[in-house]
């Protein structure tokens, strides 16, 4: 039986950015699930158990750091690799997220969608 495709969950509350990355990932043949708020992302992470989570930080209902904390506390999601996809360049944020086991801190304005897709493939081991 063929193994199911690896899933990436994108938690991003800005519809324009979400549309941009979702489209790019689909064009690159990646299996992408998108959530448009922190709380939606959390429930989708628990339900779908993705292989990677791309997490925005600045969100209205529940910010990325809160989502990250909750993901780490949940038995089902605590081992899912998380990358913070944010333009917030606070040093304190980087340090705090590192402690919570984040595997990457990618500034959206500096990394183009193609490179983000390549990095995701690399992490998921897709060629």
């Amino acid at each position: 039986m063929a193994k199911a495709a690896k899933k990436t969950l994108l938690i991003e509350d800005d519809p324009d950015q979400s549309y941009l990355y979702s489209t790019k990932f689909q064009l690159e043949g990646l299996d992408i699930i998108s959530a448009k708020s922190g709380s939606e992302g959390l429930s989708k992470a628990i339900a779908e158990k993705p292989d990677l989570i791309l997490l925005d930080v600045v969100m209205n209902d529940m910010d990325g750091m809160e989502v990250l904390g909750k993901l780490r506390k949940n038995r089902d999601t605590k081992n899912i690799p998380v990358v913070l996809l944010t333009n917030l360049a606070k040093k304190e944020l980087r340090e705090r997220s590192k402690k919570l086991g984040v595997i990457g801190f990618w500034p959206k304005a500096e990394i183009l969608p193609q490179e983000i897709a390549d990095r995701v493939k690399n992490i998921l081991g897709i060629k």
């Binding site: 800005d14 324009d16 950015q17 549309y19 941009l20 990355y21 489209t23 790019k24 064009l27 930080v57 600045v58 969100m59 209205n60 209902d61 910010d63 990325g64 944010t86 333009n87 917030l88 360049a89 606070k90 500034p107 959206k108 304005a109 183009l112 969608p113 193609q114």
Partner: protein, 381 residues
Amino acid sequence: MAKDEKLEKQKTEIGEQGYLNKNCWLVKNLNYSPYRRCQHCNFRFRNCLFLHYQVISLILIIFFLTLFFLVEGKISTIIVITIFTLVTVYGYFFNRSTEKIVKANFSERKAKEALEDLTEKLEEKVDEQTKDIKEKNVHLEKLLEMRSEFLDIASHQLKTPVSVILGTISMFQEGSIQKLPKEQQDKFINNIFRKAKKLSTIISDILRASEMDTDGFQLSPANIKSIQPEDIVKSVYDEMKPEAVDKGIGLELTLPDKPAGKILADPDFLEQAIYNLADNAIKYTSKGVVKIALSQEGGRILIKIADSGIGIPKADQKKMFSKFARAENAVDMYTDGSGLGLFIVKKIVEAHSGGQISFTSEEKKGTVFTISLPTEGGEKR
């Protein structure tokens, strides 16, 4: 009466000088103090009358004995006179020398006291200045913290639209968007357009705030028009409605039954002020309703924007109109706020003649902002 006054005066003068009298009983017992009084004459020690009585009585005895000798011519009388004279002279000189020692001691004591006093004053002054410097330092640190917070937020706000614009254009360059259906291609173009517009708004906000950052900010007279306040409030309501709906909160508009009085205002600036307040109200309210209400009270128009949001903690209420200020409970919310909104609102409202802005707020319950403007020809408080 006059004698009493003289005595009082003398007492005061002597008291202040603080000289001591060697013959005073207290001085003899080394229990002196410039502030204590002689127990015999109730004078400060220097002018203790006890001494004077002694000297005067000795002189009188010598006088009477001399008189007696002149009348009687007895040798024993001369011996008695000589002894009395010696005692008096000795007493006088002893008195002088003791006085000098006591005086010297006292001067030393006085100097020491003066020095202690001076040291105390100096210490007080140093303490005061140190406190002042510490306060200034705390203020500067707070300012730096606010600036760095602002830079973090402002750069995030600027980079977000940039990342969409750059990302989309890069996909156009690769030719990947061109492969998509026309509908999706149009959506990308709309997204870039919207983000470029937002970028322009943020930049204007930052520039506007820095332009307003002078006490002399004034509205351009050419832009001040006689307007119906309902029009502006209605326009903000229409603009904000979709945002509130998206967020799942209510937005209500209350207008007076009959038309309100006209106001003299810069419509663009005033609209921006009301927009900023309504935008904040929606931003910091997660459930409930945001109410925009226009009313007239005598010669003034009141525009109230009330929310049921997080509220502003008491400790932060004073600083809310300063640049980059964010309430403690809003710092971690990572909302769109640049920390410039309320600063701009206050500048705009106060640039209008007779314009006032105030707010009341309770944490976790909500905030009510009130803009008050005089009607045309109304009261300018």
